[in-house]
C-alpha cells in the first residue's frame, strides 16, 4: 500500500485546504513576530512555532475530511470497492499519507517560525519535542477529519468538523473549570495542543508537561488508528491482523491513561526559588505563604553581562550579550542619576520564570524575570526596564522584594515625582515627549502609585528645571526618607521657596 500512500500524500500536499492552514499559520507567525514585541530567542519562539499547529491542524483536518469524502463525492466508491484490496489496508494507507503530509506541513511552519526568529537574531536551542508534539496533534486532527468525512459522507459536517473540533480543544485547553473539572487538576493539558506560554532558556519548561503529553497524544493516535482500521474491516472479507491491533489498542489505552493522569496531576506553575529542583515549588504552595519576601539567590547562571562601574546587566548565556547590553542601555542613564546613593541597584540580573512576578529587588540587585526580560526586549518605546530599576532604586517593596511582609507597599508621592523627573533628567525621554505622554495618559510611562496631579507634575517640572548635579546633591540627605516613603513632596529639590 506504499504506492497508494505516496499518491495520496502527493495529492494531499497539493490540497488548497492544507495550504490555507499553512498560510494562516505563517501569517500568524509573521504577525506575532514582526512587531518585535519579544526579544528573539529560539528557546521561546519555539512556542510560537508550536502554536502554528493550531492552524496547520485545522487545514489538515479539512484536507483529511475531503480525502475521507472523496470516494463518495466523486462516485468512485464502487470502483474502489470491487478491488481485492482490503478496505482497512486502503484506510491505513490514507492515514499514513495524512500523517506524512501533516508532519511535513507542520515542520515547514515550525521551521519558518524559527527561521523568522533566527533572522531577527534569535539564539538558543529550540525544544524539538514541541515539533514532535505538534506533529502528533495535527496528525490526530487529520485523522479525525478523515473519519468524519468518510463515515458521514457529508460535506457540511466535514466543513463544520474542523471548527467544532478545534473549538472543543480550545475549551478543554483554556476553560477546564467550565467543564466541571476540579480546579486542582490541570485538565486543560488534555487538549491536543498544549497552552504553553513560557519556555526558559535555562530551566526549560516549568513544569515540563511534554513527555506525558507526547505519550498521551501517541496513545490517542493509536486508539484512533485502531478504531478506524477496525471500522474499515467491518463486514469486509479480509481482516487486519488481530494481535498487532490488540497490542496497539492496549498500548494506546496505557499511554492515554498514564499520560493523561501525569498531565492533569502536574502542577500548573512551578516557581523557581533556587537553582536546585527541590527549590521549585508549585505556584499554589508559594502563593499560600504569607511571607512572600523570597528572591532568587545568585546561582551563577546569568553569565552574559554588559555594563560599567555604575550598573551591570546580566542575562542567561542563551540570550547573549546583546540583550544584556539592551538592558544596560535602558537602565544605565537612570542609574547614573542615582549612582552612589544608598540602596540603589548596581546590578540587574535575569532570574528564572517566576509566576506572576516581573521583577524583584534584592539588595543592590534588580531581578528581572526571564519572560519579562524577553517581553520588553527590542522595543524602543517600552520603558519597563527603566521602571524595574526605578522601583528598586526608590525602595518599593514588590512581591519577592526585600523587606518584611513583601507585597506592594506604596511609596510616597515624592517617589512618583522623582521617577517622573528621572525620565527627563536621564534623557530617557525629552521634556516634550513626557509632556505629551502626561497630557495623553495622565501619568508617566513608569509605575506610579498616586495619580500624577497637576501639583505633582509641577513638582517634577520644577526639579527638571534645576541642574542635575544640584538635584542629586539635594536628594542625598533626603534619600533614606524618600525610600521609606516618609518624605513630603514639599521638601523635594525645587519646591522650597
Amino acid at each position: 500500500m506504499k504506492p497508494v500512500a505516496g499518491i495520496e500524500a502527493r495529492h494531499l500536499a497539493r490540497s488548497p485546504l492544507l495550504w490555507l492552514g499553512l498560510g494562516l499559520a505563517l501569517t500568524l507567525v509573521t504577525l506575532m513576530q514582526v512587531p518585535f514585541r519579544a526579544w528573539p530567542m529560539l528557546t521561546g519562539d519555539d512556542l510560537l512555532a508550536y502554536q502554528t499547529g493550531f492552524w496547520v491542524g485545522g487545514g489538515t483536518m479539512l484536507a483529511g475530511a475531503w480525502l475521507g469524502l472523496r470516494d463518495r463525492t466523486s462516485g468512485a466508491v464502487d470502483l474502489v470497492a470491487v478491488t481485492p484490496t482490503a478496505p482497512w489496508r486502503l484506510v491505513g494507507a490514507r492515514l499514513a499519507a495524512i500523517a506524512v503530509v501533516a508532519i511535513g506541513v507542520l515542520a515547514v511552519a515550525f521551521a519558518t517560525a524559527l527561521a523568522v526568529s533566527a533572522i531577527r537574531g534569535g539564539r538558543g536551542i529550540p525544544d524539538l519535542r514541541l515539533l514532535a508534539d505538534g506533529a502528533l496533534a495535527v496528525t490526530l486532527g487529520g485523522w479525525v477529519g478523515m473519519a468524519v468525512g468518510w463515515r458521514s459522507g457529508s460535506r457540511m459536517l466535514s466543513v463544520l468538523a474542523a471548527p467544532v473540533w478545534w473549538a472543543a480543544c480550545q475549551i478543554v485547553g483554556t476553560w477546564p473549570s467550565g467543564l466541571g473539572a476540579p480546579p486542582s487538576l490541570a485538565v486543560e493539558r488534555l487538549s491536543p495542543l498544549l497552552g504553553l506560554t513560557e519556555h526558559s532558556a535555562e530551566f526549560g519548561f516549568l513544569p515540563d508537561p511534554l513527555w506525558p503529553h507526547l505519550g498521551y497524544l501517541l496513545g490517542l493516535l493509536l486508539l484512533a488508528g485502531v478504531g478506524l482500521l477496525a471500522l474499515a474491516a467491518r463486514g469486509g472479507g479480509q481482516r487486519p491482523p488481530v494481535v498487532p491491533l490488540l497490542a496497539a489498542m492496549l498500548a494506546g489505552v496505557v499511554l492515554v491513561t498514564a499520560g493523561g493522569v501525569g498531565l492533569v496531576t502536574l502542577p500548573r506553575w512551578l516557581v523557581v526559588l533556587g537553582p536546585d529542583r527541590a527549590d521549585w515549588k508549585p505556584a499554589s504552595e508559594v502563593l499560600a505563604i504569607d511571607d512572600r519576601s523570597w528572591t532568587y539567590p545568585d546561582d551563577g547562571h546569568a553569565r552574559s553581562c554588559a555594563g560599567d562601574a555604575t550598573l551591570t546587566a546580566c542575562v542567561y548565556p542563551a540570550y547573549g550579550q546583546r540583550l544584556a547590553g539592551e538592558i544596560h542601555g535602558a537602565m544605565g542613564p537612570v542609574a547614573e542619576l542615582f549612582a552612589g546613593l544608598p540602596g540603589v541597584p548596581t546590578r540587574a540580573r535575569m532570574v528564572p520564570t517566576q509566576a506572576f512576578v516581573h521583577s524583584a529587588c534584592r539588595g543592590s540587585e534588580v531581578q528581572i524575570g526571564e519572560p519579562a526580560a524577553r517581553e520588553v526586549g527590542g522595543n524602543d518605546n517600552d520603558l519597563r526596564y527603566v521602571d524595574f530599576y526605578l522601583r528598586c532604586a526608590l525602595g518599593e517593596r514588590t512581591w519577592g522584594g526585600d523587606g518584611a511582609g513583601g507585597g506592594d507597599e506604596r511609596p510616597g508621592e515624592a517617589a512618583d515625582v522623582v521617577k517622573t523627573w528621572a525620565l527627563v533628567a536621564s534623557g530617557t525621554m525629552t521634556a516634550e515627549e513626557l509632556r505629551r505622554v502626561l497630557a495623553e495618559h495622565g501619568g508617566p510611562p513608569v509605575t506610579v502609585h498616586y495619580p500624577l496631579s497637576p501639583e505633582l507634575a509641577a513638582a517634577a517640572w520644577a526639579m527638571a528645571g534645576l541642574p542635575t548635579a544640584q538635584v542629586r546633591a539635594e536628594l542625598a540627605p533626603l534619600w533614606d526618607r524618600l525610600r521609606a516613603g516618609t518624605l513630603p513632596v514639599a521638601e523635594l529639590p525645587g519646591q522650597r521657596p
Partner: protein, 289 residues
C-alpha cells in the same frame, strides 16, 4: 492474456423494499461476450452489481469458478479476477488520467511498478487516451471519462469483465472502436455487457440475455434472437393492427413486427433488434395476461 471464467447464477433474486428487481434467475456464462439486454428497470444494473460483488442477493447465489460471492474470502478471489465499469462512473477529478488508472491498478494488486506502468500505458492506448495521460480528469469530456473508466476496468487483464452501459457518452466512431476493443478482449475472457443498445450486442456479443422485469426472457446467441423474428417482419403501406411493434420508415412504408398486416406487405429480413423487440413485447403481453 487472461483465461476465461465460468459464471454460475442459481435462483438469484433481489428485492428492494418488497419490490423484486431480480427473481429466480438461473444462468451459466462461459468465456465470450454476453450481452445483457432489457428495458430500463429490467434489472440489468442490479444483476451486474451482484456479479461485481457490490450487492448481496436476497436469494440464490453466484459462483465464479466455484467461488461463492457470498463468502467473504471467496469474494476477494472473485475481485482479483474482476474488471468493472459501473453505469454511474465516478473518477477522482483532481487525478491525472494516468494517476487514476495507476491508482486502481495498485488496488488491483499490480505490485511491480514497471509492469504496472506498462499495463496502464497499454490500457490507455487501448482506449486511445495515451496522449491525454497527463491531463487532469476534471478537464475531460464525458466520453473521455468513459474511456478512462474502460481503461481502469481492463488494466489488470481481468478474467471477468463487467461493463454496465459502456458506450454511453461515446460518439459513433468511439463506439465502433470500443466494439473492436471488446471483440478483441472477448476471446478468452468472460465479458458481460449490459446495454440498451441492441446494435452493440449485435456487433460483438456471442450470447444474449434478455431481461424483463427481473426475469430472463431469452438466453441464446444473437442469431437465435434474430431468428425469433424471422417471418415476422414486414414492410407494409399500412400500420399493422395487432402487431407487436410498428413504425413508419424513411420510405414512407411501415415496418411491422408481428403477423402479416396486409396482403400487400412484403417480408423483410429480421434483425437482432427485431428479435429483442419481439421478446419484450411478448413479455409485456404475458404480464398483462
Amino acid at each position: 492474456m487472461a483465461s476465461g471464467t465460468h459464471l454460475r447464477i442459481e435462483g438469484l433474486g433481489k428485492s428492494y423494499g418488497g419490490v423484486a428487481a431480480l427473481a429466480d434467475l438461473d444462468l451459466e456464462l462461459e468465456p465470450g461476450i454476453t450481452g445483457l439486454l432489457g428495458p430500463n428497470g429490467a434489472g440489468k444494473t442490479t444483476l451486474i452489481r451482484i456479479l461485481a460483488t457490490l450487492l448481496a442477493p436476497s436469494a440464490g447465489e453466484v459462483r465464479v469458478n466455484g467461488w461463492r460471492a457470498a463468502d467473504a474470502g471467496d469474494r476477494v478471489e472473485i475481485r482479483r479476477r474482476l474488471g468493472y465499469l459501473p453505469q454511474d462512473l465516478g473518477l477522482y477529478p483532481r487525478f491525472t488520467v494516468f494517476e487514476f488508472v495507476d491508482y486502481l491498478a495498485i488496488l488491483k494488486e499490480l505490485d511491480d511498478v514497471a509492469d504496472r506502468h506498462r499495463r496502464v500505458r497499454a490500457a490507455l492506448e487501448a482506449v486511445e487516451l495515451e496522449d491525454l495521460a497527463g491531463r487532469k480528469i476534471r478537464t475531460l469530456s464525458g466520453g473521455m471519462r468513459r474511456r478512462v473508466g474502460i481503461a481502469q476496468a481492463i488494466v489488470a487483464d481481468p478474467e471477468l469483465l463487467l461493463l454496465d452501459e459502456p458506450t454511453t457518452g461515446l460518439d459513433p466512431e468511439q463506439r465502433m472502436r470500443f466494439r473492436q476493443l471488446i471483440a478483441g478482449l472477448g476471446g478468452q475472457r468472460t465479458v458481460v455487457l449490459s446495454t440498451h443498445l441492441v446494435e452493440d450486442v449485435a456487433a460483438v456479443c456471442t450470447r444474449v440475455v434478455v431481461l424483463w422485469q427481473g426475469r430472463v426472457r431469452f438466453c441464446g446467441t444473437p442469431t437465435e434472437l434474430r431468428g425469433l423474428a424471422d417471418g415476422q417482419v414486414w414492410s407494409s403501406p399500412e400500420d399493422g393492427q395487432g402487431a407487436f411493434a410498428s413504425w413508419r420508415t424513411e420510405s414512407g412504408a411501415y415496418r411491422v413486427l408481428g403477423p402479416r398486416p396486409s396482403p400487400e406487405a412484403t417480408s423483410l429480413p429480421a434483425t437482432v433488434e427485431d428479435g429483442y423487440l419481439l421478446v419484450t413485447a411478448r413479455s409485456r403481453q404475458d404480464a398483462a395476461a
